[in-house]
Amino acid sequence: MDFSLSNEQKLLMQTVRRFIASDLAPLEEEVESEGELAPEKAKAIFKKSQELGLYATNIPVEFGGAGLSAVDTMLLEEQFGHTTDILIRRAFGNVYEVLLKCQGSQIERWLKPCVTGDRTASIAITEPNAGSDAAAIKTRATKTKNGWRLSGSKHFVSDGLYSDFFIVSAVTEPTAGSRGISLFLVDKASPGVTVGKDQKMMGLRGTSHVELFFDEVELSQDNLLGEEGKGLRHILETLGRVRLAQVGARAVGKACHVQSLMVDYAQNREQFGKTISEFQLIQQMIADNTIEINAARLMVLSAAFSIDQGHDARDLISMVKVHAAETLGRVVDRAVQVFGGMGFCKELPIERYYRDARIYRIFDGTSEIHRTVIANSTLKKGDALFDMGA
């Protein structure tokens, strides 16, 4: 079992790290205070990142991406975690892998423009009355002579103000339950599509989260993504890797970022005539962060390795989703504690990291949902889920 990184992997990480430090980190405070990333700045970081070959690296080479392995993707995504959601979206793109279900002419119209950064897509599954229970959605697509007619509403659609099309889940066969749901590619400009309000959040400043309303939106057969009735299955198959990257790996990166600031502060802040890093109660927090971050990273990389081996990594990804998100939560909480009043004060970014971290336990499946998945799997598959020798 070789855990070492290749030169190429190290270089990739260094390039991303340098780019984030020099071009993205300086924008963070401005986004936080203004509430948005100025369009010309978004364009500038996109352009530079694209020149570095860092845009849409998760997409296979045949569609214009970099075709990175899952392991390499996670190494990059961990570095992405050092900056904020909106800056990651604009600099590195957020091309959902479910778009790889595009066929024929759909590839040119929806997939490739996302890889080149000419178009941006958001994913719209959640509805006010259907969150964890994604099969309980009410948005309905009915067959017409030439295609489909879509009606219903969504909310919490990340980056919805900026995106120009949406991947929307809708019921196509009401009697078939979770097998009666399909995915549609819906242009924002289509008649009948209304973007509602930007739902203000606790953190993730700069990224919009919107309501969407569909009022008898006429769609052609070309707007159906993947197979009819397999919408939830397509999501399940493809969202795992996104989850591993955007929650698992990024949580590890964020935790590293915060831990580094925390250790630095502990070594400089003096009370009672010594640095607070000399107090054992502070040292325990330092140690726990380091232990938990390393454990979470190993979980991320082993799940990624399993994907690269062609195995079904869904159970592993659920474990990562819970563990990495909760590790980040504990790490930022300890950081606030070690920084004391300055951890709570808006003069330092610690309180922002604390706010930004909280969503990790909620989106992309709550901790409870993933624990339920893991419990069910363990009950069904037994020792294989935790005992290597079994």
């Binding site: 030169n7 190429e8 780019f19 070959g53 970099a66």
Partner: protein, 251 residues
């Protein structure tokens, strides 16, 4: 034309360096290509991008770990590399002799060397390479244009900056201001994997023996003696001269 960039790997500027009784403890330290050397690699890339027909070669002399710095230069865009692998700590003059042999063998016409090593803080390697080759040399170079068989350079001098014309072949030592080195792009990082990295041992280049020996390493510290000279000016000046001569031994 062949252009050679001499490169080195050094501890990252943010690395925490510890000194122990047995020397500098580099355990756990992150190493990077010396920033000064990146200017040379970058400049060679720019020369080619502005139309010069050139082959770009990186050469490094040092331990195995230097490989990473070499790969960085290949990922930035150099065509191939030569690594003379050794764990011996050679002084700059000895290094220069080894490097000069390879530079001659390759038939290079332009050599870039970082202005000052980030680890040893030595600025000797560039001039020493020029000396060993018997080539003209521009130090602390901030601007460079190749025209035909000559080189126009602007470099810092004690009085400010001057612009000179040198015939090729020549050695140029770089510094901040010459350019803004690029980061390796993802496609180039992937391509670098397949570029040639030739390995040589010190015995392949004549087993040079250094004139210096590394005895001890410690972290440099600065401290003040806080000595105040009293008495009238003439007497204080005399005392100062005596102290500088006898105690500090600087005059």
């Amino acid at each position: 034309m062949k252009i050679i960039s001499i490169i080195k790997q050094v501890p990252d500027a943010e690395a925490r360096i510890r000194a122990t009784a047995s020397g500098i403890d580099l355990e756990g330290v992150t190493f990077v290509i010396d920033g000064m050397d990146e200017y040379g690699v970058e400049q060679s890339l720019r020369l080619r991008e502005t139309g010069l027909d050139a082959e770009l070669i990186s050469i490094a002399l040092g331990p195995k770990r230097f490989e990473e710095a070499i790969r960085t230069s290949l990922a930035m865009g150099s065509d191939r590399a030569i690594h003379i692998e050794t764990d011996e700590a050679l002084d700059p003059i000895t290094q220069a002799k080894v490097l000069a042999n390879i530079i001659k063998e390759e038939g290079a016409e332009l050599v870039f060397v970082g202005g000052k090593e980030a680890d040893w803080d030595s600025a000797a390697l560039g001039p020493a390479v020029a000396e060993a080759l018997g080539w003209p040399h521009s130090d602390w170079t901030t601007k460079l244009v190749v025209s035909g068989s000559s080189l126009s350079v602007t470099h810092d001098s004690d009085e400010g900056s001057e612009t000179l014309t040198l015939p090729l072949p020549a050695v140029v030592t770089t510094q901040q201001g010459l350019n803004e080195p690029r980061y390796p792009t993802l496609p180039n990082i992937m391509k670098a994997k397949r570029k040639e990295l030739k390995k040589l041992a010190l015995s392949d280049v004549g087993s040079p023996s250094g004139k210096t020996q590394l005895l001890r390493q410690e972290i440099q510290t600065k401290s003040r003696l806080n000595k105040v000279l009293t008495g009238d000016a003439a007497e204080a000046a005399k005392e100062l001269a005596r102290l500088l001569h006898e105690e500090a031994k600087v005059i």
